[in-house]
Structure formats: C-alpha cells, structure tokens
Symmetry: C2
Subunit: 324 residues, 2 copies
DNA sequence: TGGGGTTACGCAATTCGTAAAAATT
DNA sequence: AATTTTTACGAATTGCGTAACCCCA
C-alpha cells in the first residue's frame, strides 16, 4: 500500500469514478492511476470498485469502508506536513475560511483587514459555505474552519462552538403599509408574502419557531440565501423581507425602511466549526480570537481534546456572546 | 512522504533510537533506514532527531508531534488491511489478548477452548498485561483488547467497559490462628503481615478503601501480582494472603484454608479495554460475548461510536455483571 | 577499538508516460 | 463515433543492498 495509491483512490471517488478526470486533478497520466488502483486492489485482495465492463460503476461496500479510512489517513499525512510547516515559519501559510455571504460581507471585513496586515505572508481565502455543507467541507480538508449561520449536522470529530447571536429585522419599501410606525405583529407579517432565508438557516429556524407557536401560517413565497437578492425583490414590491439586522445597517437604498423584529423572534445562532483532525495554526487561532473574542486559543485547544457534552455545555455557558 | 519512511521512524523510536537494531526489526539494511529518515527530515524541513555527532540522541519536540501522528497514520493503514482480510476470510486471522495471570488461569480457559475449537484458523495469543500498561499496549497495536483487574488510565480513543466483579478471600495455612471458625474482622487482618496485590490492582483498591474507612493500618509486608507466589509464601507461614476468591477454588494444597471476606471488602472491578481505532473482527466480538455475555457486538459497536459520559453510564448501569 | 551512523555506488524494482487496443454509450 | 479504460512497452526514478568511510565512547 502506498500513499499515492490512496490519493488516487480518493481522487477517483471525488471525480465521480471517472479515472480520466481524476488523473487530471492529480497531474498524472490516466493509465498510471488505473494501474495503481488495480495494484492496490490486488494487494488488499478486494475489489474497491464495481466494474461494468471496463467502466467503474460504483464503489463496493468494502470499498466504502476502505475509502473512509483512506481519507482519515491522508488527513493525518496533511497534518504532519502542516505541523512541520508551522514549525518552520509560523507566519507563512494559507487560511481557508468557508462562511456565508452575510457574515463575509457585514461582519468579517474588519477582522480580515487586521489579519492580512498582521500576516502578509498568509494567503487568505474566503469561500461560500453552502447549506449543510460546512461539515463535509471541513472534513474534506477544503476549509480550515467555518463560521456559519445555519444548522450544522454533527459529524465525527467536528467541533461546533457558538460564535455569536444575531437578530432579524423587517425590510420593506418606505411607502409600505407596515411602515406606519406601528408595532409589528406576527399577524402583520402573515398578511404579506415573505421573502427570507431557506430552511436550514438558523435565522429561518427562529421565524419558524415563532410562527409555529402562534399557530399562524406565514407565506414564504420566496426563499434565498443571498441578502442582495432579497433586497432587490423587496424593492420591486414582491414581498416583505425578513433578514439579518446587521444587513440593514448598511443599506444605501434610500427608499427602503427596516424595522427590528426582536420582540417577535428570538436571536438566531451562528456557529464556528472546525475539525479535531487538522492542526490549527497560530494565525488561525489569532484570527478567530480577533473576530470572536470569547473563542481564545486556550478554549479551542481545550475543546479539541474531546470533552463530553456536560463539559462542553459548561464552557459554552460561560461565553459572553456578541449580538448583532 | 512514504509509508515506509514513517514505519522506519516508528521502528527507530521503538528501539531506543538505535538505527541498527531498528533496521533488523524491519528486515532491512541499516544505511537504507538512515537515508530514508534523512529524506523524510529534509522533505518536511524539520529535524526529527537530535543528533550528538552521528548518534541519535533524542527526539525533538516537533519530532514527538510528528511521531504521534505517524503512529496514528500507521494504525489506520493496519485498519485498512484488517478490513480487507476480514472481508476475504472472516474466520482466519490472529487474536491477541493481554490479560492478567489470574484471569488467564482461572476464568478464561473455557472461553479459550471453545474459541479455538470454533475458529481453528485463528491463531490465539495470550500475553501478560503489566500494571498500567494495558492502554499503551492496545494503542501500540500489540493487543486487540485487554481484560484486566487493574486501574486503567483513560487514554484518547481507549474504551473501558466493566467486565465482571470479583471478591476477595483470606488464604492461610490450615493451622493458622485465624482459621478457628470466627468471623474475620479488619482488626484480625491487621494483626498479621499481609501478602496481597500491588497498588494499582483493583483488588488492592477495595482493601485500601476498607482499611482507610476503619482507620486501621494494615501491614502489607509483601506485594506481588502472581497468585502462585502469594500462595507459596503464605504456605511458608510468612503472612496471611488476601487474594481473589476465584483463585482459592482451585487450590490443590491440602494444608491451606480459604475464608471469604465479602463482608469486609466490596467487590473489585475487572475491565475490558479496547481501542476505537482498530477494526474488531467478528471472531473477536464472538470471543468477548462468549466470555462476557453482557458485552454483545451490538453494545461494543455502540460504544465505539463515541458516547458521552452519561450515555456510557446509562449503558453500563444496564449490565448484569457476573461476580466471581 | 568497536559499535553505530553516514556516504558512495550499483543493481533491481517501481512508477509513470506514450502509444495502441478494446470496450462502453 | 466519441469517450474512457486497459494493455504494452520503454524511460526515468526510487528504494535498497554492499562496501567503504567516519565518528564518539
């Protein structure tokens, strides 16, 4: 068994069992990959792929298990390399953060600018985190950590910590009937088509909880994750927007009004997620601590050791979370 | 980075930084090992070993971290191989159990004989578990699992489950003053030099707890782990023995008497330990379930997923433990 | 001086690339 | 017919063994 063979294996899996496309991703010739996979299969004595003629058709059950372990193994290889690089030059490297649009746009800019000034040698990458993908992106090693406002599936070795709380506001055109100075009620909201986040976003959870409790049925006629899109459609008079308050502070549209809805919806959660299996570099801790002061390096290292639920809750209860 | 290089690295570490002796353990020539380590060090860019002249003198701090990860990585490689072998022939392989003398001698024989009859293709190895070594032996991959009557350090990914309870008995020569039919008290025991288990054995814990509570100070003039040794010295009149009741059932010495001490000492614990990181084969589950019926495959797989303390306690409280 | 480590060098085995053939859609 | 995998074969690289050299107790 060779590390290369395992890398080829993962590449094939990640390219839909297409060896040719996998070979390009690892900058190697296709027949070599094919051969190495055959060699690996014959060394282990098991078929990893189900073949239909010469094409790979599916992964065998045993192949699934092997691939799962291989991914873990390669993650550790990466960890060894990162440990070494960090020792050589703690301030040089990459930072890959997956996060949602709103966070990247309204909350993160200051921390990012401080970071790039402090660590000019670190190349900074910010990528969109799609719904339900945060965990897998981290576990695939695409992302060092994620800060998201969505429901995160628990996964093995994935650590999820509270990042901050955020509130919702109503966004309507200035001349909208709801913008008459009244105290907005849930009933008011139900009288208009609503444009807001998709299910799976924590901001949507708060809304659903409040409506469910009231027995009212709101009309979510349109759900999208991108705030700009929501704004645009609200502007066009297609509905009323329920969006993050933080996003309303930066509105330059003169003909739009925003009204806080704190009295209707409880604050939503945002989470920081990272994997136990990667080596967090000092500059990563530094960024996190700058952006989320309660998540100190000390706290992060402590939770990385693998605490049980009670210990975890005890730590989380001590956090003083910012509310935006 | 090559898997071979990491194997060499671990071999050197496990042979006291002696490359020559490490090279023999991996059936390869010494210069090759030397070269590969140099290559690995220069690829990673860090010194793993501190050199004094040409001799390896110690492992650098960064080397420690790398070795720790390398061990994990190789454990996963082994897991992949085991998964494949198990698929090829579920009833062929090895079973390595580390356990204590008393368990191997008095409790395990029936389960072992059933096992070797049922699985003639599995080679069976029983090795002594020394005090405090159970966890590390498992984590080094020397042992598939351990059943011990000693205090087991919690370690990362080490799972510890209750195996059974066992009681203590007094062992004295037939003509000993304590063998006069009386109900033995703690005071009685303190009037004679005691020969029993070393600290760290769970059987010793029960004794220490009882004596501490009573305020009495017993005289452990001799502590050993081997029951045969204890018996011999008791026979010679050097002291009174406090040993596992199960060991007194098989005494063939005609001039020795044993008296249960259940009323003085609470039952001691025995534990089953195994690692989350190895693949437990079906015949292993089978052996464990035969020997310890409450530890079914289902239970073992459940706890392998990584439960928190509460869930673990809930499961353990449901066990009906045998008392020997 | 001897146990152990590194350097030098050459053989053997692997890996990988190109080209051609085979098979699937 | 086009795409994709396997087979075949040759070139470059790598891993490992022997022998010689070096260094510290």
């Amino acid at each position: 068994m060779k590390l290369q063979q395992l890398k080829y294996l993962i590449a094939i899996k990640n390219h839909g069992l297409n060896i040719t496309s996998a070979s390009k991703s690892v900058f190697s010739a296709q027949p070599g990959i094919s051969k190495q996979i055959s060699l690996l299969e014959s060394e282990l004595g098991v078929r990893i792929f189900e073949r239909k003629g010469k094409h790979l058709q599916s992964i065998t059950p045993i192949g699934m298990k092997i691939i799962k372990e291989a991914e873990e193994l390669l993650r550790i290889e990466q960890k060894i390399k990162t440990i070494s690089q960090d020792y050589l030059d703690p301030d040089r490297g990459c930072l890959n953060i997956f996060t949602t649009n709103t966070i990247a746009k309204y909350l993160m800019p200051h921390a990012v600018s401080r970071f790039v000034n402090k660590y000019p040698q670190v190349s900074f990458h910010l990528s969109p985190a799609f719904l339900n993908s945060a965990g897998s992106q981290i576990n695939k090693g695409e992302s060092d950590f994620s800060i998201v406002a969505q429901v995160v599936q628990k996964e093995k070795d994935l650590i999820i910590l509270p990042a901050y709380k955020w509130t919702l506001s109503l966004m309507v055109p200035k001349d909208h009937p709801l913008n008459d100075g009244r105290i907005i009620t849930l009933e008011d909201l139900c009288n208009f088509p609503i444009i807001s986040y998709e299910e799976g976003a924590t901001g949507r959870e708060s809304q659903d909880a409040a409506f469910l409790k009231s027995g009212l049925t709101p009309n979510y006629f349109m759900t999208v994750m991108d705030i700009e899109v929501i704004k645009r459609y609200v502007e066009l008079g297609l509905g009323i927007g329920i969006i993050a308050t933080i996003a309303t502070h930066h509105m330059d549209e003169k003909n739009m009004a925003s009204i806080p809805l704190d009295h209707l919806f409880s604050p939503s959660d945002a989470w920081l997620c990272f994997s136990k299996n990667i080596f967090l570099r000092n500059y990563m801790y530094d960024f996190i601590e700058d952006f989320l002061p309660h998540l100190t390096k000390e706290v992060m290292e402590k939770v990385s050791l693998g605490l049980n639920e009670d210990e975890m809750n005890a730590i989380c209860n001590d956090f003083k979370l910012e509310t935006y």
